[in-house]
Amino acid sequence: MLYRKYEVAQTLPEALSLLSSHNGAVVRPVAGGTDLILQLHERILSADVLVDISRVPELRGIRLENGQLVIGAATTYTEISRSDLVLKNAFVLAEASKKIGAVQIQNMATLGGNIGNASPAADAIPGLYALQADVVVCGPNAERRIPITEFHQGYRKIDLNPGELIKEIRFAIPAEGTGTAFYKYALRKSQAISVVDAAVCVQLSDGVIKHATVALGAVAPTIIRSPAAESVLIGEPPSEDLFDRAAEAACQDARPIDDIRGSAAFRKYLVGVCTSHAVRSACERAA
């Protein structure tokens, strides 16, 4: 058996209590299960008890709160990609949500799951880096709010204590004049893990880039920001030449490895391709 017991939480307090009430047993939360179940099958992970949090109302849905967009951890990609709030304020997440796996996976998989799984090739996380999002985690006694760049501490390593749950994602609504974009490079049109991807937010003011964030996926042990590309962009008017220079700068920040999806040299090249495409689209949307 993959697990001994499957429990379904109805509320957040119940979920937290179920997570910490099995002495000595390995207890894991499950929402969509699209990563977890595979890892249990492959024995990368083990579990005695699974706590289903997919119905917990406090973990679901997308809302505006004091100028911040809040996305519950158990919100699915299909919900994200169809949300007017996301489409209007954080298009990059909608764009990424439609590139994850295929429709069946988008219907099941959740944003919190993608963050918790912490794959360096995760498609939703670069957008969160670019949006400078925070992760809110809750434990039996308290909540913590951590910048996503710090929440992901290393290769598949996250800042989550036993008994804690990822509750939601929060980020400030981007300023007026901001455009966002996600560009994924994969070896098949769907159902494929990113070889490299990039997420970009740019804010244009008077035809000049006032603010820029560039995040890269699958080129380091975690998603990374590219400070070099960002500093190339800031203060400049968008142009093909600028996109090329940003792409080149991003390549310097990438630290890719060889694996079955591609060599480091291939990935390094693709960082440029992904960055220039994402920056171009973001600038077009900002204008």
Partner: protein, 746 residues
């Protein structure tokens, strides 16, 4: 009234759409036990000891079987070089060795699948590792490391063709093109992983309900390994979820029978069920052979070929499987459907510690065609000739001699197929002289205009091929069918018994149509009894594009014979009929002289691509495929086969990247071994079904299931060259390979 040439609904359509059809994994019997197999998971080693005690002691485990339990511990379609179970205690020499990661070591039968898996993991095997040979060229020349020490060499098959005098011919050639090509491994990726239910039937026969391609050969191999008379073994095929050659060799058949039989000897009379996971399927069955091909072709200024010299090495992995037969095809097809006066071929099949390889749609044809057609396209470029024009100048016509010194059987349509494909793809016929090679040129209006500033480059490529129908080179070729005509004054029912495996290709429908036509009744009056060795005769395998041809003739013959009895007032009128195909002969060991095949299908394809030089992605805009099928018994099924073959060939050419390292598999699941999804298939596939009848085919039909696969890769490579100016001598054309070829990667 006639059903031949009509797209009647498939006889199995309703069951498959509603889910009523049962596949081998869908069968259950009361009190069944479950089996798991321990694979070697190491590429080359000697087994020193196997510790099964812990596994046997686990509650719920019924039995653990190893090599000592196999009476004749050997099998293999072309030679019995493979142990059923690797290990100690059998009489088979060197059966204590594992030669690839998928070698089977032990069988565990238990009350549940979970217990069986747990017990399997409790088995400990002590190995002594041996040097791992993964380079087929090294394997060919290395006599220090032998995979099968009793054979004295890693080369287990070598074919030679010696026709004319290539050296003198090259001396007179105006242009010589040399090429070194590598073709990739391919996984069959059929929908249904291996599964089966084994039991002792009511007559005491060891019975397996499995998915395969040749019931009677499975039966023979099981009987041989178990040391049982044939009639004590029964093989049944229910619905089968795809095969493509991947079910020709044994996977679970023998071991499932062995487990059931050994259990019954211990007084445990229980059915045994096994279902492989996708990962077990990819690990456990053979793949398409990768080939290394070194070749040079010479031609005169006018494009006429004068000589071809080819050296081929097929990486067969640890065991032969059908490699000798695949190699025969590649030996014949590596010089294409062309009249070449001087030919020298040396072809080798060698053992390595890579994944085992064997039958896969095309069966050596795609590998041979890739080299031959790329050589033709490069010759055309060197001579500044049109690729269609140079083909028509050299194409084999009726009476011309093959490389093996004999003519093709009557009904050669290669020139017509090439020309018609070209015309469909936009070539213009410039001369109407039917007697000779017709001048044909790519029309200017069709030539893509590539915008210098754009990353998107368009191109078109052309290739042709011929594919044998039926077993080759002297292999006995026959097919049985039984027809039973029932009724009184009028025919009420025609019952056809045959063992053609319905692997999804639609052969049961074709057989129904053949029976209805021969009996002069509607299809609704035909009933089929299929694929059970106790009630059906030997129909041979569903392979070599042969079953429409062979079963069509057998069913036609059986019905005609039964009709004779019907008119003589026999009720029911029953006839048992064997169709024997025209004789073929093996390659002469010195010269290759032979009559290789009794029938062929002919195919040509033109492919339009768009290469994104920034991303390396290749988009297939349009595939024009002209296929001479002789007679389309069921046109819709024929088109389905063409489309399926093109999509499968597309995966082979562009996407499917099977990676092995030091004998270990890096792409053992569908998240790492990518095959095309519906979003990746070509924008348009234009099948152009041609019907030049085969003189001996039933109603003129030729086999056609494989041929659309053959010219596809070389056509795409030519199109990519047309778009980018780069020749690729290796595929799949993954974006990384394309970008590297374009010089974009440091």
């Amino acid at each position: 009234m006639s059903t031949i040439g009509k797209s009647v609904a498939r006889v199995d359509a309703l069951g498959k759409v509603t889910g009523e059809s049962r596949y081998s994994g869908d069968f259950d019997l009361p009190n069944q036990a479950y089996m798991k197999i321990l694979f070697a998971n190491r590429p080359h080693a000697i087994i020193k000891r196997i510790f099964t005690e812990q596994a046997e002691a686990l509650p719920g485990v019924l039995a653990v079987f190893t090599a000592k339990d196999v009476p004749q511990n050997e099998y293999g379609l072309s030679m019995p070089d493979q142990p059923v179970l690797c290990g100690l205690g059998s009489a088979k020499p060197f059966a204590d060795r594992v030669r690839w990661i998928g070698d089977q070591i032990a069988l565990v039968v238990a009350e549940t699948e979970e217990i069986a898996a747990k017990a399997r993991d409790l088995i400990r095997v002590d190995y002594e590792d041996l040097p791992v040979l993964t380079d087929p060229l090294e394997a060919r020349d290395n006599h220090e490391v032998l995979l099968h020490p009793d054979r004295g060499s890693n080369i287990f098959c070598h074919y030679r063709i010696r026709k004319g005098d290539v050296e003198s011919a090259f001396a007179e050639a105006d242009v010589i093109i040399e090429g070194e090509y590598r073709t990739p491994v391919q996984e069959h990726a059929y929908l249904q992983p291996e599964a089966g239910l084994g039991y002792i039937d009511e007559a005491g026969r060891v019975t397996v309900n499995v998915a395969g391609q040749w019931t009677h050969k499975d039966q023979e191999q099981i009987a041989h390994a178990l040391g049982l008379p044939l009639d004590q073994v029964r093989v049944i095929y229910p619905a089968i979820g795809g095969a493509f050659g991947g079910r020709e060799d044994m996977s679970i058949q023998i071991v499932l029978a062995l487990a059931v039989w050994r259990l019954s000897q211990r007084g445990i009379n229980r059915p045994v069920k096994i279902i492989w996971s996708r990962e077990e399927s990819i690990l456990g069955h053979h793949k398409r052979h990768p080939y290394w091909i070194l070749t040079r072709w010479g031609a005169k200024k006018d494009g006429k070929l004068v000589a071809a010299e080819v050296e081929l090495v097929a990486d067969s992995g640890g065991y032969a499987y059908t490699s000798t037969k695949v190699l025969g095809n590649a030996t014949l097809m590596c010089t294409g459907p062309y009249d070449i006066p001087n030919v020298k071929v040396d072809a080798y099949a060698v053992y390595t510690n890579n994944m085992v390889t064997g039958a896969f749609r095309g069966f050596g044809g795609p590998q041979g065609a890739f080299a031959a057609e790329t050589q033709m396209n490069r010759l055309a470029e060197a001579l500044q000739m049109d690729p269609v024009e140079i083909r028509l100048k050299n194409v084999l016509r009726e009476g011309d001699l093959l490389s093996v010194g004999t003519p093709l059987p009557k009904g050669v349509s290669m020139p017509e197929v090439i020309e018609q494909c070209a015309v469909k793809a936009g070539w213009e016929v410039l001369s109407n002289d039917r007697s000779q090679a017709r001048a044909i040129k790519r029309s200017r209006k069709d030539a893509p205009e590539n915008d210098r500033g754009s990353n998107l480059k368009c191109g078109m490529g052309f290739a042709a091929a011929f594919k044998n129908v039926g077993f080759s080179f002297g292999a006995p070729e026959q097919c049985w069918a039984t027809a039973e005509i029932r009724g009184g004054a009028e025919i009420e029912e025609v019952v056809i018994s045959h063992a053609a495996a319905e692997v999804g290709q639609g052969v049961h429908t074709v057989i129904g149509q053949a029976a209805a036509e021969a009996a002069g009744v509607t299809l609704s009056r035909v009933r089929l009894v299929t694929s059970d060795t106790t009630v059906t005769g030997d129909s041979g395998s569903v392979s070599a594009s042969r079953m429409t041809f062979m079963a069509g003739n057998a069913v036609k013959g059986a019905v005609e014979a039964a009709l004779g009895k019907w008119y003589a007032e026999e009720r029911p009128a029953i006839a048992y009929y064997q169709y024997r195909a025209p004789r073929t002969t093996p390659l002469d060991p010195q010269t290759g002289k032979s009559e290789p095949n009794f029938a062929y299908g002919y195919v040509a394809e033109a492919v339009r691509v768009e290469v994104d030089t920034e991303t390396g992605h290749i988009r297939l805009v349009d595939v024009i495929t002209a296929d001479d099928v002789g007679k389309a018994i069921n046109p819709q099924q024929v088109i389905g086969q063409i489309q399926g073959a093109v999509v499968q060939a597309m995966g082979y050419t562009l996407m499917e990247n099977f990676i092995q390292q030091d004998g270990f598999l890096q792409t053992g699941r569908f998240s790492t071994y990518l095959i095309p999804t519906v979003l990746d298939v070509p924008g348009q596939i234009d099948p152009y079904v041609l019907e030049y009848p085969d003189p001996v085919g039933p109603w003129g039909a030729r086999g056609m299931g494989e041929m659309p696969f053959l010219p596809f890769a070389p056509a795409v490579v030519a199109a990519v060259h047309d778009a980018t100016g780069i020749w690729f001598n290796e595929f799949p054309l993954t974006p990384e390979r394309v970008l590297r070829g374009l010089g974009k990667l440091s």
